[in-house]
């Protein structure tokens, strides 16, 4: 964890890399929502932070004043590494998004499900006899790495490499652009090799699909396919790893919810949506490109906006008992996968992986409890990075 200058006032000097935010951001957001619903910091060259659902929604919908060309708040603007469609604005956004949607529909996910369940069980096999495990390291992080490798048609054993790149892009790279660039370069090389292989001999996998997909009236080129693959890898791993980890963290420390899910498995879909609401892993960002006013606050061009879906999801104006985790919550318009045109393309995959991870764990190990210190990721994706649990 990097050393950060002390925060004077979260309303005027917030810092999402500060240990207090990393360990428990919810009280900070709750206080800001009351006192100063659109906070600002001069750190990171100027960032706004809306904490009300309505304001987060308004920014997410307003693609005229808020651009996606920068979607991560970093110490300094990095050289552009476009990863369409997440970094695209209208009108380029729509075709770039459409081409990625078909492989991630619920029907497509059904074809992935058997392999996802097998992966979960292979992982559980390794630690079930031991009586304890680190559920973040040995379980949560391994599932998305292997599932996405399976979908892409890449060796599931390349997971260590993926995790290294993601750590470099989303954590170390926030304060050290050279690390970010090096990781992006390595990813490009890696994917280009596989893209060329598929170009010569297509297979039944996502890389081959991308290469054969029509995009703006022509086949997607190699370079574009590599950019899309970089995005899918970065967006598809530590996000879901964090989501799975937070589910297990909650169930370890809340035996009543865990036992209820074991007894009433039909509650699982509602419970997963509630975990997504309460522990939404992803905070996106936008760059202000035209001055505008939202929620009584003027947004100045050149500054960034943190799009805190996790904070929006805790807004009592939108959710009854917003600070409570209610696994049978009936009405839940949570924004964990974003709102508007940039809704997470992989949301159905994330749900599948979270559901499978929790179901298979509860089947094999219905009783478990916390067994040591939990640590959390820093940056724009929040989830447990160490999660020791004891079985029985």
């Amino acid at each position: 964890m990097s050393q950060r200058p002390p925060v004077e006032d979260w309303a005027t000097d917030f810092d999402h890399l500060h240990p207090q935010w990393i360990n428990d951001p919810f009280p900070i957001w709750d206080e800001l929502r009351q006192r100063c619903p659109i906070a600002h910091t001069d750190r990171f060259q100027g960032v706004y932070l809306p904490t009300r659902y309505a304001d987060v929604r308004a920014v997410a919908y307003d693609t005229e004043h808020f651009s996606s060309r920068r979607v991560v708040v970093r110490e300094s603007p990095p050289p552009r590494i476009p990863t369409p469609p997440i970094t695209s604005d209208p009108p380029e956004h729509r075709p770039a998004r459409m081409v990625l949607l078909p492989p991630f529909t619920p029907d497509a996910m059904q074809r992935i499900e058997p392999r996802a369940r097998a992966i979960a069980n292979e992982l559980i096999d390794k630690f079930v006899g031991r009586g304890s495990c680190d559920a973040a390291v040995e379980y949560a992080q391994e599932i998305p790495v292997r599932v996405i490798a399976h979908m892409l048609g890449l060796p599931e054993g390349d997971g260590d490499l993926y995790r290294k790149w993601i750590h470099q892009v989303l954590e170390v790279g926030i304060t050290d652009p050279s690390v970010l660039l090096q990781a992006a370069g390595e990813m490009t090389q890696y994917f280009m090799r596989h893209v060329r292989e598929r170009g010569e001999s297509p297979r039944n996998d996502l890389i081959s699909y991308l290469l054969s997909a029509e995009f703006n009236g022509q086949r997607m080129g190699e370079e574009y396919a590599v950019a899309a693959l970089r995005l899918l890898l970065i967006a598809g791993i530590d996000t879901t790893w964090s989501g799975i980890g937070s589910c297990i963290w909650h169930l370890a420390k809340t035996p009543a919810d865990r036992r209820r899910l074991v007894a009433e498995p039909a509650l699982m879909p509602t419970a997963i949506e509630e975990f997504l609401r309460a522990y939404a892993p992803v905070t996106m960002a936008r760059e202000v490109v035209k001055e505008t006013e939202i929620g009584g606050c003027t947004f100045k061009p050149g500054q960034m906006v943190m799009l805190s879906f996790p904070a929006a999801n805790r807004d009592p104006a939108m959710f009854e008992d917003a600070d409570q985790v209610i696994i049978d919550r009936k009405e839940n318009r949570h924004a964990a996968f974003g709102l508007g045109i940039h809704r997470c393309v992989g949301s159905n995959l994330a749900r599948l992986e979270m559901t499978v991870a929790v179901e298979e764990l509860l089947k094999r190990i219905p009783e478990f409890s916390p067994a040591g210190e939990v640590t959390w990721s820093e940056g724009t994706v929040r989830g447990p990075r160490k999660l020791p649990i004891r079985f029985g």
Binding site: M98, L101, T105, P106, E331, R333, F337, R343
Partner: protein, 71 residues
């Protein structure tokens, strides 16, 4: 709640972003296209017994794209 058979659901296709919440909660009332975006089944008429699901689909849509119309 309105009488059975007098409700219709409708998906605003411009608002729908493919969150898939309606289809997950009320598969009898919604279909998805090849991109995962939703539309009401048939003319949207809610068969008797599915009224609660129709309202659930509406109140869980993050984009406010699902309408329940009392005819």
């Amino acid at each position: 709640m309105a009488d059975a058979g007098k409700l219709k659901v409708r998906v605003d296709r411009d608002r729908c972003q493919g969150h898939n919440r309606c289809k997950a909660l009320a598969p009898e009332l919604f279909d998805l296209d090849e991109y995962g975006n939703a539309r009401e089944k048939g003319d949207g008429t809610v068969p008797p017994g599915l009224e609660e699901k129709a309202y659930l689909a509406k109140s869980n849509c993050p984009e406010f794209a699902v309408e329940v119309i009392e005819t």
